[in-house]
């Protein structure tokens, strides 16, 4: 199995702070950080009863599909994807293995979102690099939490 991606508390808090600031600065409804496999990493904003898990997997599928379309027309990648609706819009910026997703409405503009998201993306990239480096150096097996998982523990999940 591929190396797991591990996010520690300090990196998670830094990430939440960056996306929280971005959400305010660009007057967005919500900001998500999602990995390219569709797992939600961090969220900030007006979530309400939005199904975040489904949203994250669909955002990842969306970017994966447009990335492949880019290749087919000779582009290396589309660094961002925009969907503009009548009231709600979505801006997705690809940052390495992650996606910065901004959901915004008429309180903001695409131009503002793009500028602020670009600025935040450097900080996000730096935190993700730290997490990726830590993940490589960190052996889960050293952590007794995982090394001690027994067959009984696993069986109990299906009891």
């Amino acid at each position: 199995m591929a190396q797991a991606f591990i996010l520690h508390d300090q990196q998670f808090q830094r990430m939440k702070s960056v996306i929280g600031r971005l959400c305010v600065e660009c007057a967005a409804r919500a900001v998500f950080l999602v990995d390219r496999d569709g797992q939600t990493i961090a969220v900030h904003g007006e979530i309400g009863d939005m199904d975040m898990t489904s949203f994250a997997s669909l955002a990842a599928g969306n970017v994966a599909a447009t990335h492949s379309m880019a290749k087919l027309i000779g582009e290396n990648a589309f660094p961002s994807v925009v969907h503009e609706g009548e009231r709600e819009s979505i801006f997705i910026s690809v940052i390495g293995r992650s996606l910065l997703v901004v959901v915004f409405d008429e309180r903001s503009t695409l131009g503002l979102v793009k500028i602020r998201a670009k600025k935040a993306s450097y900080e996000v990239a730096s935190i993700l690099d730290d997490a990726a480096n830590d993940s490589k150096a960190f052996s889960i097996a050293q952590d007794s939490v995982f090394a001690d998982i027994s067959d009984d523990d696993i069986d109990s999940l299906f009891a």
């Binding site: 199995m1 591929a2 190396q3 797991a4 991606f5 591990i6 996010l7 520690h8 508390d9 998670f12 808090q13 990995d35 390219r36 496999d37 569709g38 797992q39 990493i41 199904d51 898990t53 489904s54 997997s57 669909l58 599928g61 994966a64 599909a65 492949s68 052996s139 889960i140 097996a141 939490v145 995982f146 090394a147 001690d148 998982i149 067959d151 523990d153 696993i154 069986d155 109990s156 999940l157 299906f158």
Partner: protein, 194 residues
């Protein structure tokens, strides 16, 4: 890729159901969805054609419970089985932690099973995975139909390594949770080795 969030104490894993067209991948997910308590599951998302054939993927998140203080979340995906959706299949395999190959037990679908299994190996390779090293189970589905190949013969043809083999009738739920448990167990066991 397994995502472990120490801050929220969560383990997130991705499992993909693979197999030829109409073998019952979506039916597996549908049964898991229908049989799971509301609080343990999210929505079942199906990106399907007008005739209910999977176009891109089906997806459902499933929370199984807590292991050593960590919530375990499995994201279950299916791929479109039809041959011409190969580009979509490749995308869905990205970041996979475990694979269920759903084989159609009917005699006339044997060639389709073999072709799909070959396609799985090839697509995994292009994503940098080796089927021989990945958590993997084989499900022999549609065992209730009259024209099925005997289990031993089918397993002999389709087994790639020492993976667990499960007989199933996904439409009634037989074998569906055993299959899921088989792959989930391997994925969690892999965490010890990481």
């Amino acid at each position: 890729m397994t995502f472990i969030n120490y801050a929220s104490r969560e383990i997130n894993c991705k499992i993909v159901y693979y197999g030829p067209g109409l073998c019952g991948k979506t039916t597996n997910l549908q049964h898991i969805y229908d049989s799971t308590a509301q609080e343990a599951k999210g929505k079942l998302i199906s990106l399907a054609t007008e005739t209910d054939r999977t176009l891109f993927f089906d997806f459902m998140p499933l929370e199984l419970g807590t292991v050593r203080g960590f919530k375990t979340r499995f994201h279950l995906y299916t791929v479109p089985g039809q041959v011409y959706y190969d580009a979509s299949r490749k995308l869905i395999l990205k970041g996979v932690d475990g694979v269920v190959f759903v084989a159609d037990s009917q005699e006339e679908r044997m060639d389709a099973n073999i072709e799909s299994l070959y396609n799985l190996e090839e697509n995994l390779q292009t994503q940098g995975y080796d089927l021989m090293k990945l958590p993997y189970v084989l499900q022999l589905n549609k065992r209730d139909l009259p024209n099925v190949i005997p289990m031993e013969d089918l397993a002999y043809e389709l087994r790639k390594k020492d993976e667990p083999v499960f007989e199933a009738v996904a439409s009634t739920g037989t074998g569906v949770f055993d299959t899921l448990k088989g792959v989930a167990k391997q994925v969690l066991t892999e965490l010890r080795k990481s």
